[in-house]
């Protein structure tokens, strides 16, 4: 390493700060934090896809699949968080791997909608399955952590640290991955698939890899969410509007930086929580309005705000829209 990677430094500082803060946070703050980490992880997967030029309107499929896989394991007596989250992540990853053989042939709006079709099939299956509580879902018992069985507030405190550690590892991993050849090929596939093929590599294979990754992290986010809320239900985990929310977070965060997805998720969670709190009838109005405002006035997402600040105190101008940073 010739110099310290700023993103990794930033992520590490955030990790330490959040780790310490966990012991002092109010319960509702921690809850928002947990949800932001879970959704941010999903958005991270969508970010990787987006850099490849693809947007999915159906990642609630993997989110819901991961959540339900973890929750169903608790029904048959498994309660260890490590096992549940691992299983949820893996289940979603396997599903993404299988569907990936089909989806990697699609681009643009067809990719987006085919994903949505698959997510609605899952939604339909859940709603029609009485054993899984149909539209009401079912509750998930408190998890244990490698034999440690926390009680009361300690459950959420432990879950928060658990989630924080894994999201940190995943996020740093993604950041490093983006600098590798395979990571950089996102750009190549987005810009010109014909050239990629004529350089001797399969664009579909690149897309498949990214897709499986996005499925894995969405499953991870879903499993965490199931444990955090202590409940799974189709409308908040597998419906198409949930997929829309993930895309919302991705747009909100912008393509600039892996850490931004968590800031985006946090902002989303705050808008939603406060809108729901103060204007329960009009929270969709507020959510939709903020999304429109971001699309119109912050086309490169929240991260561009930081970019603007940085640009104002240095003369170096960096490239802006929808562009991955060059090595």
């Amino acid at each position: 390493m010739r110099y310290m990677d700023k993103t990794i430094v930033g992520l590490s500082i955030a990790f330490v700060v959040l780790f310490c803060a966990d012991f002092f946070m109010a319960e509702w703050v921690r809850f928002i934090g947990l949800q932001s980490l879970a959704r941010g992880a999903v958005a991270l997967g969508l970010l990787v896809l987006w850099r490849t030029g693809l947007v999915s309107f159906g990642h609630a499929l993997y989110f819901g699949f991961g959540a339900y896989a973890a929750a169903m394991l608790t029904l048959i007596g498994y309660h260890d968080a490590f096992f549940l989250v691992f299983a949820g992540t893996l289940a979603a990853g396997v599903l993404a791997y299988l569907l990936g053989f089909l989806l990697r042939r699609y681009r643009a709006i067809f990719f987006a909608l085919l994903n949505m079709a698959f997510s609605m099939i899952l939604y339909g299956v859940i709603v029609k399955t009485e054993e899984l509580g149909s539209t009401d879902g079912f509750s998930v018992l408190t998890p244990t952590f490698l034999g440690y069985a926390p009680k009361g507030e300690a459950v959420q405190t432990t879950l928060f640290i658990f989630t924080l550690v894994f999201t940190y590892i995943i996020t740093v991993g993604v950041h490093l991955y983006m600098k590798t050849t395979l990571g950089g090929m996102s750009m190549a596939v987005r810009e010109n698939e014909i050239r990629v093929e004529y350089l001797g590599y399969s664009a579909e294979k690149v897309i498949h890899v990214k897709y499986v990754f996005s499925g894995l992290v969405a499953g991870f986010g879903g499993a965490i969410m199931a444990l955090a809320i202590g409940q799974v239900d189709p409308d908040s985990m597998a419906n198409w509007t949930v997929s829309g929310e993930f895309v919302f977070i991705t747009i909100l965060s912008g393509i600039g930086n892996v850490g931004a997805t968590y800031i985006g998720a946090l902002v989303f969670e705050l808008i939603r929580t406060y809108a729901f709190e103060y204007a329960p009838l009009f929270w969709q109005f507020i959510l939709g309005g903020s999304l429109l405002a971001i699309i119109m006035f912050l086309p490169d997402g929240i991260w561009s705000l930081f970019g603007r600040l940085r640009r104002s105190d240095s003369s170096e101008s960096s490239s802006s829209s929808n562009k991955a940073p060059s090595p």
């Binding site: 947007v55 309107f57 089909l102 042939r105 699609y106 643009a108 709006i109 067809f110 987006a112 909608l113 085919l114 949505m116 079709a117 698959f118 609605m120 099939i121 939604y123 339909g124 299956v125 709603v127 029609k128 014909i194 198409w240 509007t241 829309g244 895309v247 919302f248 747009i251 009838l281 009009f282 929270w283 969709q284 109005f285 959510l287 939709g288 309005g289 999304l291 429109l292 699309i295 119109m296 086309p299 929808n322």
Partner: protein, 298 residues
């Protein structure tokens, strides 16, 4: 045998309904390459406006059949108003952006309009059964069907024919086909694409609103009706090939009849049979059954 007839008639009625709600979506996509999620809100507004106008109409002493005019008036009011406001006020600023961003913007607008709907009409359901009661019922092979639902088939046929004639026989239609085929060349040839876009969007909006307005007498008009419709019409349009009107007809028939069959034979798979068809069709024919030809530039 009886069951088959029920499935067929139910299927045709449902197909007509699906065609009515999805044709606006496919027209807008065909010309503007925009997947308009707000479409679901047009449908819901059409239904509410129609229920309100029908209610108001039957409070007067005007002739009973005039109630049908209220339905079309509702569709035109809603379609023209929201069509113009949305296209001129929002979408035209986004034409140069990524197609996914535009979809997301219409999704945002959909969320906003869902709540605007609540602000105007509240959460209580509305009923406007008068036009349906007026037409009564009819027996087909010892089975009773309400006539109003059957007229939906006629309306769908009229709309389909109207669009076909409008596109192939009028000067406007030909301009539209030129824009669909190659936007840039059309512009270079002096076609005013801005006007074409606005008009297309308004026409598409009116059709979305008409779907809701016409169906309003047969349902309880309540919050959330737009969500289901947007998903259904996506499926229809994607199956048929986005932007293709014959595709919308075939897609609607395929989905409508299979759903009717599912409802009668395997009620437990009713909800996802539609998406299963969509996934299947896409797996075999990526761009839908009737993807329109496009100019390709490499």
């Amino acid at each position: 045998m009886q069951e088959l007839i029920v499935i067929l008639v139910d299927g045709l009625v449902f197909s007509s309904y699906l065609f009515m709600v999805s044709v606006g979506l496919t027209v807008i996509f065909g010309v503007m390459k925009i997947l308009n999620v707000t479409h679901g809100a047009f449908y819901a507004f059409g239904a509410y406006m129609s229920a309100t106008l029908i209610g108001a109409y039957y409070n007067t002493d005007l002739p009973e059949f005039g109630g049908f005019l209220a339905i079309f008036a509702a569709a035109i009011i809603v379609g023209v108003f929201f069509g113009i406001v949305l296209e001129r006020g929002l979408l035209r600023f986004l034409y140069h952006r990524d197609e996914h961003i535009i979809v997301l913007a219409t999704f945002a607008m959909f969320l906003v309009l869902e709540d605007v709907l609540l602000m105007i009409w509240g959460t209580d359901p509305y009923y406007a059964y008068e036009p349906m009661a007026l037409l009564g019922a009819v027996d087909i092979v010892e089975l009773t069907f309400d006539v109003y639902s059957l007229t939906l088939i006629g309306l769908a046929v009229i709309v389909a024919l109207g669009l076909w004639l409008g596109l192939t026989k009028t000067k406007w239609g030909k301009l539209l086909l030129a824009v669909i085929f190659d936007r840039e060349i059309s512009q270079a040839m002096g076609i005013n694409v801005t006007v074409v876009f606005t008009v297309t969007f308004v026409v598409g909006s009116i059709m979305g609103a008409l779907g809701g307005a016409y169906i309003a007498p047969t349902i309880s008009v309540s919050p959330g009706i737009g969500v289901e419709v947007i998903i259904l019409s996506f499926a229809v349009v994607v199956i048929g090939g986005m932007g293709s009107i014959p595709g919308a007809i075939i897609g609607a028939l395929l989905v409508g009849i299979s759903r009717a069959a599912a409802v009668h034979k395997f009620p437990e798979i009713e909800l996802f049979v539609i998406y299963a068809i969509m996934a299947l069709v896409l797996a075999i024919r990526p761009e839908g059954l009737f993807a329109p030809a496009q100019a390709r530039k490499i």
